[in-house]
C-alpha cells in the first residue's frame, strides 16, 4: 500500500518537475543563452494563460486558445524585445533587472485593466480528460502525462536547436561577444528578437498548459518565476539538459518533502507538531537543496562551460 503511494508520489514529483521545466524552458533560452535576466518572464507566462482562457471561452476550443497563447506571448515578447530589451544588451545585469521589473508592473496591471480582477476559467480539453491505468493498479491523469510529453519534446527540441544548429551557435556566440558576431556578418539584432519571441512563446505555452490546472489570475507568474530561476541555476545556466535535470530534482524533492517530512518527524515528536514543522521544513527544502548544490558546484550541475 505504502509502496504504491510512494511510487505514485515519485511520479507526481517527476511530473511536477517536467511542468517546472516547461515553465523554465523559455527562461533558460532567454536567460541562459542570451544572458538576459528577464524578471518579466512570469508575466509572459500569465499572458499565455490569459490569452488561452479568453480565446477558449470565446470559441469553445482549448486548442484554438493554445494557439492564441503562443501567438499572444510571442507577439508581446517581440514587442518587448524591440522596444526595451534591445537597448539593454550592452548594459550590465542590473539595468535589465530594473527594466524587466518595470515590465512586470506594466504587464500585470495592464492585464488587470484588460481582463478585470477576477480569475478566469480554463479547463483541460475533453480529448485529454480522464486517466490511464498504471501497472500495479494505480492510474494517472492523461492531461498530466500529456504535459510530461510536451515538456520532454520541448527539451529535446531546444537542446537540438541550441547545440546542433547554426542558429544555436550564433546565439551562443552572440552571448559572449555581440560586437564580434556582428562584425562577422550576422544580424544579431533580428536573431535575438526571434529568440526572445520564441522564449516568450514557450512561456505562453507553459502558462496555457498549466493554466488549465491552476487559477488563471494576475500575479500567477511570480511564484513560478522564482522556481524557474531555481531550476535553471541548479542545472547550470545555459544548459537545457541541466534545466531538465534541475526541474526534476526540484519537483521530486519538493513533492517527496511535502509527503515524507511530516511523517518522518512524527516518529520523533507529537503528530500535530510534526505536521506543522514538517510543512515548514518542506517549504524551505528546495532552497536548502539549491544552496547545497551551489556550495559544492558553484556553477550548477551541468554548466555549459567547465
Amino acid at each position: 500500500m505504502f509502496t504504491a503511494l510512494l511510487i505514485e508520489q515519485l511520479l507526481n514529483g517527476l511530473q511536477l518537475g517536467v511542468m517546472l521545466f516547461l515553465m523554465a524552458a523559455g527562461l533558460t533560452l532567454i536567460f541562459g543563452v542570451m544572458g538576459l535576466i528577464n524578471l518579466a518572464h512570469g508575466s509572459l507566462y500569465m499572458i499565455g494563460a490569459f490569452a488561452c482562457a479568453t480565446v477558449a471561452a470565446a470559441t469553445g476550443s482549448f486548442w484554438i486558445g493554445l494557439i492564441a497563447s503562443l501567438a499572444a506571448a510571442a507577439g508581446v515578447g517581440a514587442i518587448i524585445e524591440v522596444a526595451v530589451i534591445r537597448r539593454l544588451y550592452d548594459r550590465d545585469h542590473l539595468d535589465q533587472v530594473l527594466a524587466t521589473f518595470a515590465l512586470i508592473l506594466i504587464l500585470s496591471e495592464g492585464a488587470r485593466w484588460l481582463f478585470g480582477s477576477f480569475p478566469l476559467y480554463l479547463d483541460i480539453p475533453p480529448l485529454l480528460q480522464g486517466a490511464v491505468p498504471l501497472p500495479g493498479g494505480g492510474q494517472y491523469q492523461l492531461y498530466r502525462l500529456a504535459i510530461i510529453g510536451v515538456g520532454i519534446a520541448v527539451a529535446i527540441g531546444l537542446y537540438l536547436l541550441i547545440s546542433r544548429t547554426r542558429l544555436g551557435m550564433r546565439i551562443r556566440a552572440g552571448e559572449s561577444d555581440r560586437e564580434m558576431i556582428g562584425a562577422l556578418g550576422v544580424d544579431i539584432g533580428t536573431l535575438y528578437t526571434v529568440v526572445f519571441a520564441l522564449g516568450a512563446a514557450l512561456a505562453g505555452l507553459a502558462g496555457a498548459l498549466v493554466g488549465a490546472l491552476q487559477s488563471v489570475q494576475v500575479g500567477m507568474g511570480e511564484p513560478v518565476l522564482i522556481l524557474a530561476f531555481v531550476v535553471i541555476v541548479i542545472g547550470g545556466i545555459g544548459s537545457i539538459k541541466g534545466a531538465l535535470v534541475g526541474a526534476v530534482i526540484v519537483g521530486v524533492v519538493d513533492t517527496m518533502g511535502r509527503f515524507l517530512l511530516p511523517s518522518l518527524l512524527a516518529l520523533t515528536m507529537p503528530a500535530s507538531q510534526a505536521t506543522t514543522i514538517g510543512a515548514a521544513l518542506a517549504s524551505m527544502l528546495i532552497y536548502v537543496v539549491m544552496a547545497l548544490i551551489l556550495a559544492f558546484r558553484p556553477s550548477g550541475l551541468f554548466s555549459a562551460q567547465s
Binding site: 536567460f31 535576466i37 524578471l39 526595451v84 537597448r87 539593454l88 548594459r91 545585469h93 542590473l94 539595468d95 533587472v97 530594473l98 527594466a99 521589473f101 518595470a102 515590465l103 512586470i104 508592473l105 506594466i106 500585470s108 496591471e109 495592464g110 485593466w113 522564482i226 530561476f229 531555481v230 541555476v233 545556466i237 506543522t276 510543512a279 515548514a280 517549504s283 524551505m284 532552497y287 536548502v288 539549491m290 544552496a291 551551489l294 556550495a295 558553484p298 556553477s299 550548477g300
Partner: protein
Amino acid sequence: MTRETTINLLLALLLLGAPILAASLGEPFYVTLATRIVVLALAAVGLNMALGLGGLLSFGHAAFFGLGGYVAGILATHAFNAEPLFAGIPATTSMPLIWVVAVAVAGLIALPIGAISLRTSGVYFIMITLAFAQMIYYFAISWPAYGGEDGLSLSMRNAFPGVNTAKPLPYFLICYAALMAALLLFRVVEGSRFGSALQAARQNGTRLAAVGIAPFNIRLVAFAVSAMITGFAGALYADLNRFVGPSMLSWHMSGELIVLIILGGKGRLFGPVAGAMIFVFFEYVLGGITERWQFFLGLILLGIVLFARGGLLGLLSGKPRHV
C-alpha cells in the same frame, strides 16, 4: 566641488528641510513619508556597499532587513510582556541596544551566508543569496511563535534616551542622522584601502589575487558590513511602522532595494537616497491619482532605465564615474 557633490548636498538638505517644514505646517504624515524614504535609503546604502562597490548582486538582502526588523520586534515584544528572552536574559526597549543587537545578528548571519554564497559568482550568486533569503522567509511565515505570516505588532515605538520617539519629527531626525552616518561611512570606506580592494574585486578578481590580495576575504567582509547596515535599517523600519512581518523578508523587498539603487545610480554615494526619494514619491503620488498606479510606475521606471543611464544621479551629474 563637482556637480555631483552639489546635487548630493541639495538632496540631503531637501530631505531634511521638507519634513521640518511639513511638521511646522501640521502635516505629520509627510514627516512619516520622509522617514520611510530615509529608512529605505539606509537599507539600500547597505546593499550599495556590496553591490555598488563590490559588484555583489545580492538578491537576498531582504533577509538582513527583515532580521533587523524582527530583532527589534522580538526584543520589544518580550520587554513589553516582561518575558525574558532565553536563559533569563532580559529584553529591552532601548533603541541603541536594539540597534546593536540587530546589527550584530545581521552581521553574524551574513558571515556564513556570505561564506557559502561567495563560492559562486555572477547569476549563481544572485540566486544563492535569494535561496538563503527564501529559507528565512518561509521559516518566518510558518514559525508560529512570533506571529508567522501575520507578523508582529509593536504596541509602541522603542525608546531613545532624551527623545520622544512617538512623535514623527524626532523619530525622523534619529533616522536621518543614522542615514547620514551610514553615508559618511560609505564615502570613507569607498576611498580607503579596503574600498580600493573591494572595487578592484568587482572589476577583476584575478588581478586582485595576482597582486596578493585574496578577493574572497575582501568580499566577505564587505558582504557582512553591507548586511549590518541593512539590518540596522530593518530595526528602524520596524519602529517606524510599529510592525514587522514576513513581507520585510520577501524577495519583493530584495528586489525593491536593488531597484532603489539602480534608479538613483549604482555605486554612487547618494544613489540609494535619490532612488528612495523618487520611488516613494511616485508610489505615493501615483497611488493618490489612480488605482492603476503600478502601471504608470512601471512606465516611469522603464523610462528611467532606458533614457537615464547611470540612474537619476548619472543623468543629473552628467558624466560617467571614473576613479
